[in-house]
């Protein structure tokens, strides 16, 4: 296996246990190599900001999970455990870069401009819940596994054809690597040398199927070799390692040096969705390990505490601040005027055809009649 990795991590041996055979900057106790950290060119406020996004994402995820349990939003796919992978990668992007996320990438989305309020509207089934703000280049959350991957390649292609410097990142999970669209997107990106980063969060589980039943390959990153593109396997629960790997991949893409596949090894701490019961198929010891000593927030907190950038008090006050902000966003989303049935006809085509127009008129009359009932 010839996987291209950062020079600083070359002391890792191929023969090591798979879970250790990846790029890491912070160990489980929060220790790091000062020279490696200073090479990141992140100052204390950048490091704090990274943590704040991770914490906010975690708080949002918990809150949304609770809301689903209370019946206030529809089915939800929690992402707790994947904050380092999502925040570390998203923070390496520029504002004008393009992002093709999946339904489990809400952490990455909020960093680059999707308002939490919009996410709540989406989960509450509002028609405009996937309406990305005008200046934000983030596509609606992909539902079909792998469907966004060739699209992301096409988007990157457009930037390249116009000689623009924007790059595209697409997120997907380990399950998506089994799809044909993963292959086709990777292949096109490689053949046409497109400015794209394929960011795979290997969270070990595709609903109930573990990675060893998903693929006969030992890793995901080794697939990069077959496509003739660069690849890096990174500790996906180490936010700084993820940031560095993604930043390098993005810089290469921006310099027209081609695509990169990143495998970020992480873990889905919760169920696939709120309809799923993972106790049926996975070992609680495994879950416990990943939600405690391997948790990405715990690790980064230890790192920041050692550097004097975080205290228990500070953490508590940040949590209170974010909870309040998230509650406000939820309140505003819940106060948004609900979608009415006549609106579904407005975004099928740029101009409705006559059959659609007839159907819209039909429901509009029913709405009018209903109003008449109430007022009469």
């Amino acid at each position: 296996m010839k996987v291209i990795i950062d020079e600083e991590m070359t002391n890792l041996q191929k023969a090591q246990v798979v879970d250790l055979d990846y790029y890491q900057l912070i160990d489980l106790d929060g220790n790091s190599n000062e020279k490696q950290i200073s090479n990141l060119n992140l100052d204390d406020s950048d490091l704090s900001s990274m943590y704040e996004w991770m914490l906010k994402a975690r708080q949002m995820d918990k809150k949304l999970l609770n809301m689903q349990r209370q019946g206030r939003i529809g089915t939800y796919s929690p992402f707790s455990g994947q904050e380092a992978a999502q925040i570390g990668s998203a923070m390496a992007l520029k504002e004008t870069d393009w992002m093709f996320p999946t339904y489990r990438d809400l952490g990455a989305c909020i960093v680059n401009g999707i308002p939490i309020q919009q996410i709540v509207k989406y989960l509450k089934g509002h028609l405009e819940g996937s309406k990305t703000p005008e200046n934000v280049n983030i596509l609606p959350l992909q539902i079909i596994i792998g469907g966004q991957i060739p699209q992301a390649a096409g988007c990157a292609w457009a930037s390249k054809l116009r000689a623009e410097k924007d790059i595209t990142i697409t997120y997907f999970g380990d399950g998506a690597t089994s799809q044909g669209d993963f292959h086709e997107g990777m292949n096109f990106a490689s053949v046409f040398n497109l400015p794209i980063v394929f960011f795979c969060q290997n969270n070990h589980w595709a609903i109930s199927v573990p990675f060893n039943k998903q693929s006969g390959s030992e890793t995901i990153v080794q697939k990069a070799e077959a496509y003739g593109m660069k690849g890096i396997r990174v500790d996906g629960n180490d936010v700084l390692a993820v940031y560095k790997a993604t930043k390098e991949a993005i810089d290469r893409a921006r310099n027209n040096e081609g695509p990169t596949l990143i495998e970020a090894v992480t873990y889905r701490q919760g169920p696939h969705t709120t309809s799923d019961d993972p106790t049926k198929y996975r070992d609680q010891e495994e879950v416990s390990e990943w939600t405690n000593e391997k948790d990405p927030l715990v690790r980064f907190e230890r790192f920041l505490e050692k550097r004097g950038l975080l205290t228990e008090e500070k953490k508590k006050s940040l949590m209170d601040e974010f909870d309040q902000k998230i509650l406000n966003d939820i309140k505003e989303a819940e106060e948004t005027i609900p979608t009415t049935i006549d609106q579904v006809f407005d975004y099928v085509y740029d101009h409705s055809h006559s059959v659609l127009q007839d159907q819209k008129n039909e429901v509009a009359q029913r709405i009018l009649a209903k109003k008449g009932d109430i007022h009469g």
């Binding site: 393009w98 028609l127 405009e128 996937s130 309406k131 990305t132 005008e134 596509l139 609606p140 079909i144 469907g147 991957i149 060739p150 699209q151 992301a152 390649a153 096409g154 988007c155 990157a156 292609w157 457009a158 930037s159 054809l161 595209t168 044909g180 669209d181 086709e184 997107g185 292949n187 096109f188 053949v191 579904v344 407005d346 975004y347 099928v348 085509y349 740029d350 055809h353 006559s354 059959v355 659609l356």
Partner: protein, 325 residues
């Protein structure tokens, strides 16, 4: 004016749109140096270069998927699927992704792509090349489906499709590619999408058809003039959205309706037209609505292709049938 075949008029439409708008680019298998397996992109690689006439890897979902991405980022891709029978490989990218991009983003993102694909029977292709699958796309909200029946319309409809803000499936009847020539204006022009063409006026029967069936239906209808039966022929041109107004107006006059298409009968476009006319013009009808279509089998082996497809005999039987009422 130039005397062109349909495939030449398609090439001319692509060429003129690429000259007009540098966002227009072509993607497909063998469309570059080779000029396409039917030569629909002949000469365009030489004129526009490899960044605008792109030979892609052999991957239908990749072709359409990257086209969707290109269109999201302000390009106007025209993808060629070499034969329509291969399009199932990319159904998700068309029907789930491109078709609902506008809807699911509440208008923030759109996917104005054109997918061109040769299709239809009568040319003795290998298996799985000839199927008429237009109903699949007509059944998918968000797509437009266009099928030309002559060189003039092919050019004008394709130009309209490329300029349209919605994803358009543009299906080209293989049988008509070189079967006739027609005077086609050299300048650029459009034929509007969503508007049927009245091919021949008549008072007794309305025949609605499209694509490869139009020429023979027109011929048979003209012959019936001598037998005292006056047949109106409508060429749909756009399969979705259907121009029901034109059909309704005609049926209200004739009281009889025959729908002809090569696609299999069950779940076909003909059933949709029949249902719509029954809902809107029930009291104008003096005979049952008849459908003459491909049978409900896979597209057959070449030895029975002509018996499977709508043909003169089947049309004559249909005409005699509705005239009994």
């Amino acid at each position: 004016m130039a005397n062109l075949t349909m495939v030449q008029s398609i090439t001319e439409a692509l060429k003129q749109e690429m000259e007009r708008d540098d966002r227009v680019l072509l993607l497909g298998q063998d469309i570059g140096k080779n000029g396409g397996v039917f030569r629909a992109t002949d000469g365009l690689f030489e004129q526009f270069g490899e960044n605008r006439v792109i030979d892609t890897p052999l991957a239908e979902s990749g072709i359409v998927g990257t086209s969707v991405g290109l269109s999201l980022n302000n390009m106007r891709p025209v993808a060629e699927i070499q034969f329509l029978g291969f399009i199932y490989e990319t159904m998700d990218q068309i029907c789930t992704q491109a078709a609902r991009m506008r809807f699911r983003s509440a208008g923030r993102f759109t996917a104005p792509i054109v997918i061109r694909s040769p299709f239809g029977g009568g040319v003795r292709t290998p298996e799985m090349h000839s199927d008429s699958l237009e109903a699949l796309f007509a059944h998918t909200p968000g797509l437009k489906v266009v099928i030309p029946s002559n060189p003039y319309d092919a050019k004008g409809l394709l130009i309209s499709a490329i300029r349209d803000e919605n994803p358009v499936i543009f299906l080209e009847p293989m049988k008509l590619y070189r079967s006739s020539r027609e005077e086609v204006p050299e300048e650029s022009y459009t034929v509007p999408l969503g508007k049927a063409k009245l091919v021949k006026e008549g008072d007794d029967i309305t025949i609605v058809t499209y694509g490869a069936n139009v020429p023979f239906v027109h011929k048979v209808a003209t012959e019936y003039e001598g037998k005292g039966i006056s047949i109106e022929v409508i060429d749909l041109r756009t399969i979705h959205p259907i121009d029901f107004e034109t059909i309704l107006e005609s049926v209200e006059k004739t009281g009889r309706l025959i729908i002809i298409h090569e696609a299999v009968k069950t779940g076909g476009v003909g059933g949709e037209i029949a249902a719509h006319i029954s809902e809107k013009a029930f009291f104008s009808l003096s005979a049952p609505i008849i459908r003459i279509t491909g049978y409900d089998t896979p597209f057959p082996v070449t030895q029975v292709e002509d018996d499977w497809l709508p043909n003169v005999q089947r049309l004559q039987e249909g005409i005699e049938n509705v005239m009994m009422y």
